[in-house]
Symmetry: D2
Subunit: 413 residues, 4 copies
């Protein structure tokens, strides 16, 4: 089986979308040219698990265009069939269809490992964990992995602590070019606009509760305030709470703040961040959305069990009538809202992130054999190269420290 | 002919959308209850021309529910068939289908006038002008009109100056509850999010040129800045230019600013606000959108004639390759972008606007016979009642001036 | 008596300050050159009442330098002796000393009128009212007046309604170049920084109550929010309240909001805007300041009568211990805080305002004989000339409407 | 010699200022009560070097009030005589007078060490370095030090690397309660308002160049933008440059940006950050200020050598006429502007910082004997206690993670 996609005939549509990403992703396009020129990935085997949409597709395609043998898989819920068809049509072994069963997906991931990738670009450490457990036959030829998600890095570190990680893994998530931008600016904008787009409601004048004031919460709060909302933050960490106060937000416990919030956005990565007791206190008509990484940050299970009625109010918006008679509206089914009710991160953010991934994969191919098993930071040179390319694409120039200035921090005497 | 809609079977879908608007439009819903109770519109004939989407549909439906005989028409390009079907199903004589020809539309408008409306809620003064020219048989029973648009008010004033306006017309557009909010906050948010939603691009860090710094331009600039853009304003009015400067925006002529803008948003109401010479100087990849009321604010005709290639890059986004080889992307075909690439104003804005319309229609029905022909402002009591209802829906309370405070501005001696 | 100042020896200090204003006021300096060149004020008699500080002084001096015979007076509380000395030393008949009694001031104003000014630049209509009542001998030679303040214009309009105004008066306050900028940007910035400078406190994270959301309140709220405060607005006007809500501020009645405000800034122009009942509810340590035009917007008399102790906590900051045992801190004695605890409007704002005044005075000298008695708007040409000069000083250029664009608003058929 | 202050008679003035700080510093006041109650500093010897102004004075006084034997010294340039007198009058051995010579200061510091402090609260590692070199007799009784400044920590780390640091030193600067707030919010606000207060100029509409986008630069840029300025950032670090871009600022090299900047604020900690070549390109009338820690971030020496004229334009503002004929205005002599032209950090910031210092000193007294020589972070319990006390003073409450939520991050299988 060379590829498994739903309908190859959809490829032209997917092709157009991928081409647009290529035009709007100057950093990754620059790296595409570099890899094609330096031959660093030519003939090398790369496995990828990522949602299949135009931005991820372009990463797979540009690696293939540079000569790599790329195999790609994704769960059905995160697969767009036209894009999958287009990727398959461009020489990537693609295993993904929107109607796949869990069994299908297990087979699809196995197909990727069956191609014996030297490097994997992994999501939630799926491929790495399979290669260390059920598919150990893939381990000898695996040089290493580059991991996209925070969750995946947490798992890899747990494996490392347990002495169970046998290859070097680059924590792409920790690159400056990723963590300084993707959640704060990418999730910030795309979560807020996904909510507005799904509801046709206005944010100006709304009371917005942001649960969690990490990078995601900071981004969501800034964008909500920038659109005229009044923001309250809930936090468990006193330093983050003080930062929120200093930015001009109110801070209050979730249960208390919920009672006077028109919109609630969770951004914690922790289950039950908006618990039943808080949902019960929401005013009539409140909107609920989850901008965080964990599906049950809002206690949707409770909502489903205890609401007296539920209906789709608009696409991606479900109304629940609570026992109190008040309604709440859940956007994107409580799943990460910029994907469940939108198209995910903006192109520019993924341009940075996938540039880090492409160069990390290249680094593993060239240097991975000499790297110890375990979690490694993104090489500084990779991070810097991506930032420099991004600045160049913007036409922005830096200053340089003079020799004297560099020597400014001198001895203590 | 009682109604002319494309497919009555679509009504259930439209009904759900209208119900959601009712839930999210507390001011208009309050007026619905008031009208039903006071009998002021019962048995009275009201004609309406407005785009047919859920928010306008609710205005027509709530008037019908209060006992009015309502007739409604719209041009095909601004008609959603499911909503039209639902409105027709709820007892409104509805003449609108998305596939209508210009001839159809002329007939549809005539159908509205054939029902001899006592009051019309008009758009661009279409019905009023027909009643003064080609359909003068409708004039004797016409008490007056309430006009939604700036353009319509301009035309009505021109008629009045020419001595050709024979009925009182309320300039709903000039109500505080409309002009202070709809363009600044409604168009501001919805234009910016429509562009982002259509493109999946990020605004943070983008250089945005806003042409025109009236209410629309002020709203667009504020929302763009609130999402992290760097804003430049172009203006012909020196006072508006100075206001923009004081808000922290750069000000520069269009032709000059275009050369260093990633996104250009027109907000002038004046044709060729982004002229060919400016388009030619745009950087590669620039996005163009029109948030203003006039279709050719961006010189799209020139784009079509002079581009060497054109293609749909994404839904609502067209790429044009210029003779220079650079591409520009036009969002929403150069037509008002929050409608052409979005759902128009947020619900809350139309709640205010249509509350003004409903109470203005009521005022004309009750008092219009005693009003002189000509353009009238919205009655202060109407404007105030809408504002008070909106504040009440938000749970916001005002202070009251004491007697002494009211008398503060005293005699000159 | 040619001048009456406290100490002529202080002139050098005052001179330096005036010179700096000249350097930082490009619009007024440009008009100075114009007047000197066109001879329009040469030999003409101009009377001025304004606070005497470097910015006002420059207005008087530049008129004198252009050949006018200028007489200037001010109340003692608003006189800086070094500046008065400098102005006197530069050929302006100056009647102002910081230690003047009310009797002195009456004489000083009379001295200005004794010089039979052809035009007066007036403050609160003081000179105009004297010339219409106690000093009618000055009326025959008085061509007209240009009035600086809102309060003065209110009084002049009352006189006009009473049929008691015998000369044309230009309402300088209503110029676009004044009212669009002075309160929103000038009072906004200078009130907030005066409070911070007087107290050495931080605004980020503070709960700030702004009473009144007119131009001053809008400016104060924007600057407070811009420095990280959480703003609540109190209003009596429902439209202003809704605007505040849409800008992202909370709105609540004064008595309720006071209980949870760290800083209260009045901006109403109405006495007792912060009444006793609200003061009693303030949290311990609250700061109170008045950014508005009326001295008793905060009920300072009540504070003085009912506090159990009072002391100067810092220069310009007085602590009052309330019967509850809580302290509040009053900045600038409850008088307009940007003057009582600061230096008033920034130079740039007065550059615009006094440019309007200088050109309005010129207009009265040249055209006033043909103007009817009553309140007149600032001539459009004056307003426009000032705006154009300001833009030129910033290096900012405008676009121009083409002939076709100007003709865009056409007939109704 | 028990104290050396200029004029003990000034004590009452200083006392009032210190009392006001006590009222406005709830966290430190709470710690004062705690220390008095727990006896942890009673009879212990503490030496302090800090600028002597009301906020630092309160730190010394509250330690003395809790029973410590405190000795305090400061350089003359950073000493306010009334405050020094008050501190001396409250039982602190105080060695500081505004007219001190370098020789005096050396003697003053020696007096502090002569009292054999067990713990020093140090500034730029002055006392620690003396105790390790010229005054080694003080070393045996020295348990450790708490260091206030970044510069001091750099020096201590250099000593540690050189094997020359013989006592434990707590890097107070690295506490969350200090570094997250003092530069971003304290320096941000106080630098910008110091410039405005010194000049009476307006920030709205000004083009502001911020050199360096670390914590200080971030704070200055945010406050400048919040007051209506258009901000450009200059950086040497590509990640910081990208952050600035994403916040909506322009980024450009210093020499290029200077040519179009009305205000330049350095925030780098690096000499010659605004070099001669950039100064020469500034527009006429530009304002220059240094918000950073190093005195010669602006090349003031070059300005003094090459300007054709110089004069004090206003207090704290010096005008330099460049060879080009253009003038620039230097605020606060190029020294850290919130101190040289203002009162330093707001009270609230120092409340946090000195709370960290007081608890760090307590920690060293109680636990320092068991700590290894070298630089130590602030104990987490100290940092947390300060944050909790600050939140309590604001009436802000946090959420708590449930057991299940805490266990959310689980094993990799």
């Amino acid at each position: 089986m060379d590829s498994a996609v739903k309908d190859g005939g959809l490829a032209p549509e997917g092709d157009a979308k991928i081409d647009l990403v290529a035009a709007w992703a100057p950093v990754l396009s620059g790296i595409a040219a570099q890899l094609a020129a330096d031959g660093s990935v030519a003939g090398r085997r790369i496995g990828i698990i990522l949602p299949i949409e135009p931005k991820t597709a372009y990463l797979a395609v540009m690696l293939a265009d540079a000569g790599a043998e790329v195999a790609l898989a994704a769960p059905g819920a995160l697969t767009r069939d036209d894009v999958a068809a287009a990727v398959a049509g461009r020489g990537v072994a693609t295993f993904a269809r929107s109607d796949s069963s869990p069994d299908d997906e297990e087979r699809f991931y196995a197909e990727v490992l069956a191609r014996r990738p030297e490097v994997v670009i992994d999501d939630r450490a799926e491929l790495v964990r399979m290669a260390h457990t059920t598919h150990r036959e893939a381990l000898p030829t695996l040089i290493g992995a580059s991991e996209e998600t925070t969750t995946g890095v947490v798992k890899l570190r747990a494996m490392q602590r347990a002495g169970a990680l046998e290859v070097p893994c680059i924590a792409a998530n920790d690159a400056n070019c990723k963590h300084l931008f993707d959640n704060r600016y990418g999730t910030g904008q795309s979560s807020v606009t996904a909510i507005l787009d799904s509801t046709n409601l206005q944010l100006a004048g709304k009371r917005v509760l942001v649960i969690g004031y990490g990078w995601v919460g900071k981004g969501v709060a800034a964008r909500a305030a920038g659109l005229g909302a009044r923001v309250t933050v809930s936090e468990v960490n006193p330093f983050a709470a003080l930062e929120a106060i200093h930015e001009g937000y109110a801070v209050a416990p979730v249960r208390e703040a919920a009672a006077r919030s028109d919109v609630v956005i969770s951004a914690t990565g922790v289950p039950s961040s908006l618990p039943a007791e808080a949902i019960e206190r929401l005013p009539d008509g409140a909107l609920l959305a989850n901008a965080g990484a964990v599906d049950d940050e809002i206690d949707v299970a409770w909502l489903r069990r205890h609401s007296t009625a539920a209906r789709e109010a608009r696409p991606s918006v479900e109304e629940f009538v609570l026992p109190s008679g008040r309604s709440v509206y859940l956007v994107g089914d409580g799943k990460v809202v910029n994907l469940s009710a939108g198209e995910g991160h903006p192109v520019e953010i993924m341009d940075l992130t996938f540039a880090v991934q492409a160069l990390s994969a290249r680094h593993l191919l060239l240097e991975g054999a000499g790297m110890a098993p375990g979690v490694h930071p993104v090489p500084e040179a990779v991070d810097r190269a991506v930032a420099d390319a991004k600045l160049a694409s913007l036409g922005v120039r830096l200053d340089q420290l003079s020799q004297e200035q560099s020597e400014h921090f001198v001895t203590w005497q």
